[in-house]
Amino acid sequence: MRLCAAACIAFIWSGGACAGYVPRSALDEAVRIAAVTAKSAPDESTLAARLDAARLSAVSDPLPAEAELQQTLLRLREAIAPQAATRMQVEALTDYSPQTYTDALDDERARGGLTVPAFEIAATARGTLRRWDKAAHRAALVSALRRGDLEALRAIDDAAAWREQIAVASDAELLLLRSADSADPGVRSALALRLGDTSLARDVLRAPATPAGLTLLAALPEAFESTVALTLLNDPDLDSGYRSAARLAMSRLVWSAETQQALLAGLGDADGASSAQALARDPRNLPALRRIIADAPDDLSLRRALLALHWMEDAGASATLAAFSHDPAQPASLRAEVSQWLR
């Protein structure tokens, strides 16, 4: 955490200011001036030269210099093919230590003491380089695809650039990208979705869960025909981190006896509550849930069926719960819980 020095914090508490701390009004003014200056620069070389000058003058007069660094970086970020010298200037700023601090932007700002840099210069420099890099990688991908050069494709290690390219690729290009066999779950997910490739999707969902895999899973009901999606979501070898999400995603498939049966079959297992919530999303499942409650194949299935009715927000479901709560043949503790829901 980059904080003002301890002495500075104490000084702020006592109501004063300290070196490096500037009020918002002074910041606004410095940004305004820097924005005008940056806009007036005729070309990239001028902007790059200003970065160098501002970095030097930040030592003696940090506020205007840091405002200029930030605004200049934002202008440079728009460059299409920056010169090597410009790139070096920006790289020199990726570990820039801020000197101008303002009061904290956290949401409880009154508490005093904690301060934040007024300008995220290092972060903006990183963002600028990233933008340039990704644009270059996209260009390299396009070129490699045009040549059909698998080795060149594999050498481009930029998942975000890949995903962007996948989004716009032709069918032939997609197959080429698929052949490159990227290990990145986000790339594999994007390819699975665009190609409608069930085996690729299945592989992603059997590997340890990742945010990209969760995104793929959530997209399956719309991306695949329902019976295909059901097979993928109901895969017994699904990674455990995906199971709850998979059950819930089943509720977005076109309703069918097969889907209902898959969900009912899972009611008593470790992710049975997720089955219950999926079943609760369609009142057509009510009769089947009532049968579970009547037959009570096992305690867990019974509990999950009751939960499903609880979540169903349906008059018929509520009536079944009320009847359950009044049925002396049912376990007292469960009846008490159900009564609590109905209150």
Binding site: D43, Q71, I80, V116, F119, A123, G241, S244, A245, S274
Partner: protein
């Protein structure tokens, strides 16, 4: 080179822009006039009941709590109120059914909430994780069973339900108003200037949904009801210091609008109702979980002992996240306030009360290499949340365990190893709201005979590595793992002596109660050591022989030196005596209450002995008679002595 994006300029406090408020979209690294690149994938709500590398959709999170409550007798849901949109606000109560500790005293309580500010998605995840952590371990026979039996924990994962749903409805879009381009409605004129270019609605909604519809739109666009600025800041709507301080506004469009009156909002009323489930008078800890800036904000109420204990506790909790300074403690000076929840609980109940701001640090998303959008700290990368859940669960566990109360030595036995013959038996038993000591036995220890000393405490004293089952420090804590135990007193000639027993950490007992040398109630609430007195030891035929026990709980709280008066909370620890017998120091000390051979010189040996003058309970005579019968039956070799 393309023209500088007007939007990005606006993000950096530019006053050159003149556009109206607009709806912007968060992206990973796509740039455009209405795009805000973060530098990492924009997390979308995940429809999963179980925790994932991401942020769960509200309905799934709530269903998860329903399921956990239905599957456990120690987890109950309580509806504590209704939002403005008539949605139930749910608290989860983690506690056994009675309101008593295992010993039978009134149970303490704690309240932990999340989701006051809608956009702070890390908060509900972290608070729900505590429920999940408890649920998984409810039958551990150790720490979590102890907490469930001895503390009434009330948890609210999402208080601002309507607002949270609004942020999940628009997970990657938000309304941002600009500094000078806005038509400034009259009721915004009083707002502090620095709030005016902040994002407001959609993903970045902070406040509740008072007078706000669910449509995200920019003022001036066709059909748009310009209500995106409205809502009440629930963390300014509290009864203490309402409408005070400079971080408040009475303008309804302000990000820090405090509402029409203190506790006017149903969410805050629900929070207080949850506190009353404690009941409120039994509360000992309050944590309101927010993001971001990685800090424990707190409140100094001006009560020195409470303020010092609140600081010490915050540091202990921070240590459990990876370092004492990882979440630094930052209290508001006494007498100041802004109407926040921690102020209300700190002042009304004089308990440690915190506004916990989760990570990232005040630098926001740049902690994770972001591109530096000024509010990106509210958008924790999905890949970070699992770790944050774990760290804060450890911190909360430390806070709950410590505030459940200081440790007391409440039972001891000495047995011969060869015959298992009980030669000394002591127990502090509940007697109304105090404890009474029953102890009896033969203090005549023989030389060259191995004895087993068993001590039991009123809480689990140690933590075991879940993998190896070895006694180890709880995360970030640093204590002596072995207790110090000595036989002290006066020898046959009247000279003072002290004989230290050799102790190691392996003496803590995890085997279940009822088994040979098991724990008393919970794993590691008991300790056992075998000792042999050498010939000529002053402890043989001692005129006075007593135990001196020095141990702390796993957060370093020392023993209550007088178990007779039961430690409780009263703006500081009450009845938590130190080595000098003082109950106003909050430090505790060594237990010297157990006397194997009594010469009547109550505190003669071993210093002042805080509990030395404890009276024996009236039930003692009956217990003694029963014990005498038992000992005769066991053909005890010595004459039993009443201590």
């Amino acid at each position: 080179m393309a023209a500088l994006s007007r939007v990005t300029a606006a993000l950096l406090f530019s006053v050159t822009a003149t556009a109206a408020a607009q709806v912007l979209t968060l992206t990973e690294d796509s740039y455009g006039d209405t795009l805000v690149p973060l530098g990492y994938p924009v997390p979308l709500p995940v429809d999963s009941q179980t925790p994932v590398d991401g942020f769960r959709r509200y309905a799934a999170l709530q269903a998860r709590l329903d399921e956990l409550a239905l599957s456990s007798d120690s987890i109950r849901e309580q509806t504590i109120g209704q939002t403005l949109a008539q949605r139930p606000i749910t608290a989860v109560q983690l506690s056994d059914a009675d309101a008593l500790t295992a010993e039978g005293f009134a149970e303490p309580a704690a309240l932990i909430n999340g989701g006051i500010h809608a956009r702070e998605w890390g908060s509900p995840e972290v608070v729900a994780a505590l429920v999940e952590h408890y649920a998984e371990r409810q039958n551990d026979g150790g720490l979590y069973r102890y907490l469930l039996d001895n503390l009434n924990l009330i948890v609210i994962p999402v208080l601002n339900v309507d607002g949270f749903l609004q942020t999940q409805r628009y997970p990657d879009t938000f309304l941002q108003t600009e500094y000078s381009g806005d038509p400034t409605p009259a009721d915004l004129s009083a707002e502090p200037a620095e709030y005016r270019n902040y994002p407001r609605d959609g993903r970045f909604r902070r406040k509740n949904m008072r007078n706000v519809d669910e449509t995200l739109c920019a003022a001036g666009s066709t059909g748009c009801v310009a209500d995106g600025m409205l809502g009440v800041d629930l963390n300014r709507n509290n009864t203490h210091a309402f409408a005070s301080g400079n971080q408040n506004s009475n303008a309804s469009g302000s990000l820090v609008y405090h509402g029409v009156s203190a506790a006017s909002e149903p969410e805050i009323q629900a929070l207080y109702a949850a506190g009353n489930l404690g009941p409120a008078a039994r509360l000992r800890l309050y944590v309101d979980t927010h993001t971001f800036s990685r800090v424990y904000y707190g409140v100094n109420t001006g009560r020195t002992r409470r303020d010092a204990l609140a600081r010490a506790l915050a540091q202990r909790m921070s240590a459990a996240t990876g370092g004492v300074d990882r979440y630094p403690y930052n209290p508001t000076p006494a007498g100041q306030g802004i109407g926040s929840t921690d102020e209300r609980f700190a002042y009304d109940y004089q308990i440690p009360a915190y506004t916990l701001e989760l990570e990232p640090s005040a630098n926001g998303g740049s902690d994770y290499g972001s591109f530096g959008y000024h509010h990106d700290g509210f958008v924790l990368p999905a890949s970070e949340i699992a770790r944050v859940r774990e760290e804060i669960t450890a911190a909360n566990t430390v806070g709950l365990y410590r505030m459940a109360g200081p440790p007391s030595l409440i039972a001891a036995q000495v047995r011969r190893v060869d015959s298992d013959l009980l030669v000394y038996d002591a127990r502090w038993m509940r007697d109304g709201s105090t404890r009474a000591l029953t102890q009896f036995g033969d203090g005549n220890l023989e030389p060259g005979v191995a004895y087993r000393l068993w001590l039991a405490f009123n809480k689990p004293m140690r933590w075991r590595d879940p993998q190896t089952q070895a006694i180890t420090q709880f995360i970030g804590q640093s204590i002596d793992l072995a207790p110090q135990i000595a036989l002290t007193g006066r020898d046959a000639g009247g000279a003072a002596f002290s004989f230290a027993l050799a102790t190691t950490a392996e003496g803590w007992r995890a085997t279940p109660p009822g088994t040979s040398a098991g724990c008393l109630r919970y794993a590691d609430d008991a300790y056992q050591v075998v000792f042999t007195l050498p010939t000529g030891s002053p402890a043989i035929e001692a005129r006075r022989l007593q135990l001196a026990v020095t141990a702390t709980d796993f957060t370093g709280q020392a023993l209550d030196t007088n178990p007779a008066t039961v430690a409780d909370w009263a703006g500081g620890w009450a009845n938590y005596e130190d080595d000098a017998g003082r109950a106003d120091t909050d430090v505790g000390g060594s237990d010297r209450t157990l006397v194997l051979v009594d010469d009547g010189s109550s505190a003669a040996a071993g210093g002042s002995g805080g509990g030395g003058s404890v009276g024996l309970g009236s039930s003692l005579t009956l217990l003694l008679a029963a014990w005498l019968r038992r000992q005769r039956a066991q053909k005890s070799r010595g004459k039993p002595r009443l201590q």
